[in-house]
Amino acid sequence: MTDGILTNISMTEITVIISAVLIFFSIVFGIVRLVIGPDTVDRVVAIDLLTIVTIGLIALLAHQAERYIYLDVALVYGLLSFLGVLAVARYLEKGI
């Protein structure tokens, strides 16, 4: 344990790496759903999933770069993903 590879990596760095791997798999599966999705509704849900995962990724990049002004971009995305999905839903229900 004393001469392991994990002894000189901090706990925060391990957390960042695990989060990045999970975000990677989320992005890959979201893109797969977007590519093979036979209907428009599948693609709307996939782009909503990718937006939410992207907000987490931006927060992770803000932590890694130690510049917390990056969190404003995540804030703008949190507002706009709602509006975008709402616009597409209104279109599909023939309301726009």
């Binding site: 760095e13 977007l34 995305y77």
Partner: protein
Amino acid sequence: MSTLVLTLLTVVLCAGILIGGLLAVMLNNMVSAVISAGLASLFASVVYVALAAPDVAMTEASIGSGLTTMIFLYAIRKTQNTEVKVTQPESEDSE
């Protein structure tokens, strides 16, 4: 090490931009094509953040992902929502 992992994740995002652009060109349903263009804009914004340009990323988020999708949907509502087949030469004679 975590910097390396996030750099590799940025490369995955660039591949996502490519996939979004290809889908926006190749899909026949217009609404799906607009959503795929939104995917390309979304990932481009994250790449802007990774390249340390948060103001450009914020502009790309508000215009590319929000405003463009709504304007395209409004335009599709005003026109047809499916791709029109290219007319054959004999069908032009019937007009």
